[in-house]
């Protein structure tokens, strides 16, 4: 499909949201490398990190083809205000159950998002979406397995998982912050919209949490952590970006 300059700007902004989420949560997952509670979990978080960062790279490449900067420059030289990731992805890893619950909530949203995007009118994005779904399936399997096991294993694990859900839920709702261009994307059949995604997400995670004896916070207490999609971030993002890009910025023109 050929895009008008206005449409192209919207699509780019939309792509930044997706890729930045993947890069930042991918980086957080990579911080478990060497620190996982068991060897298997260490490898799982590291592999998931590799997938998510690899996926973000191909979206940055697509952005590059649309006139944006080189993927490495995009990933490593922007400031926090230029990022469009949701607050959920930015938070430090905390305890294992926080990271696990974050992945659970994020993975499902991502799996559904790429399912919706597999028929997007932006053909190159649809191709990537089809590809990513098969990979993210494994991320979903991983977090589902642990959420179900730990939700019901014993009193302490249940308590910790419920607390993790309480702590991450409003952050996760921030994934679905709608942008000004949402209507335009819907009309041009690029993407159906965050609200549609959020409804599908709730439908999908509810029975799994239920089977894990975990309870979604009461709707009256919902306070979505918005702002990330507009470049307003938590205090945790800028230090992450500085660490992530430290080596790149030592010599941006180095040949790797």
């Amino acid at each position: 499909m050929s895009l008008s300059p206005g449409e192209l700007k919207d699509v780019k902004e939309f792509l930044y949201k997706i890729a930045d989420d993947q890069l930042i949560i991918g980086h957080r997952n990579s911080e478990w490398t060497g620190l996982g509670p068991t060897l298997e979990e260490d490898i799982a978080f590291s592999s998931i990190a590799q997938d998510k960062i690899g996926q973000s790279q191909h979206i940055y490449e697509l952005l590059h083809a649309m006139g944006e900067k080189h993927p490495d420059t995009t990933a490593f030289t922007r400031n926090a205000a230029d990022f469009r990731c949701s607050h959920l992805t930015e938070y430090p890893n905390g305890e294992y159950e926080f990271s696990l619950m974050r992945n659970f909530l994020f993975n499902h949203s991502e799996h559904i998002r790429f399912g919706m995007l597999s028929t997007s009118s932006v053909e190159q994005l649809a191709k990537l979406a089809k590809k990513y779904r098969g990979e993210i399936k494994y991320h979903v399997m991983h977090s589902d397995t642990w959420v179900k096991q730990l939700g019901r294993a014993n009193e302490e694990s249940h308590m910790r998982m419920q607390k993790a859900l309480n702590d991450t839920f409003n952050l996760a709702l921030g994934i679905f912050e709608e942008s000004d261009f949402a209507e335009a994307l819907r009309e041009t059949k690029v993407f159906e919209g965050e609200q549609v995604l959020q409804n599908k997400w709730l439908e999908e995670i509810s029975p799994i949490l239920d089977s894990a004896s975990l309870v979604i916070p009461n709707k009256n207490s919902w306070a979505p952590a918005y702002g990330g999609r507009k470049g307003q971030h938590t205090e945790y993002l800028q230090p992450l970006i500085e660490e992530m890009g430290a080596v790149f910025r030592l010599d941006p023109n180095a040949e790797w």
Partner: protein, 167 residues
């Protein structure tokens, strides 16, 4: 340099690409792995090879691009270009039967054919590549590389890896 011929055939290019192996699994060629999605030869014997990644985050891809280029340059060509894209999305059903046997030879349980959807049940009771038993269990779906899961055989008491099914 091979002797001059009017035009290289696609089959000759594919045949040469049989020599290019997955750097991490040296028993399987990239053709049998299913990642060569298109080959075209111009009238001037300029060869274009299209590849698609197994996994989006696979670090072996750049190396494979270089290996393809080096191998094709040995043929009687005027030039070669290697392009990686997602026009065709790789999944494990694209591995040839010969490729599945090559994985097994490397000690990796090959992925089972799937109908387009991978379920977690497919990862259990995987056939042990060492003794052939199905009395096995999956330990973790993530292994030493993105494409492998880790299993344990209750009969021969060995741990083994599977090239995991991807849809």
């Amino acid at each position: 340099m091979e002797s001059f011929r009017t035009m290289l055939s696609k089959a000759e290019v594919l045949d040469a690409l049989q020599d290019v192996k997955d750097p991490e699994i040296p028993t399987i060629s990239i053709v049998d792995l299913g990642i060569v999605t298109d080959v075209s030869v111009s009238e001037e014997n300029f060869v274009l090879v299209k590849l698609t990644p197994t996994f989006s985050g696979c670090p072996a891809l750049k190396i494979m691009e270089t290996l393809v280029k080096e191998r094709i340059e040995k043929l009687n060509v005027s030039g070669v270009s290697v392009e990686t894209n997602f026009d065709v999305q790789w999944n494990t059903n694209m591995i040839t039967d010969k490729g599945l046997a090559a994985l097994n030879k490397h000690g990796l349980a090959p992925p089972e054919r799937h109908s387009g959807l991978v379920q977690i049940e497919m990862l259990h009771k995987v056939k042990c590549p060492l003794c052939g038993s199905r009395n096995t269990e999956m330990k973790t779906p993530f292994g030493p590389t993105l494409c492998r899961s880790i299993h344990y055989c209750n009969d021969c008491l060995n741990a083994f890896e599977q090239f995991k099914p991807v849809s």
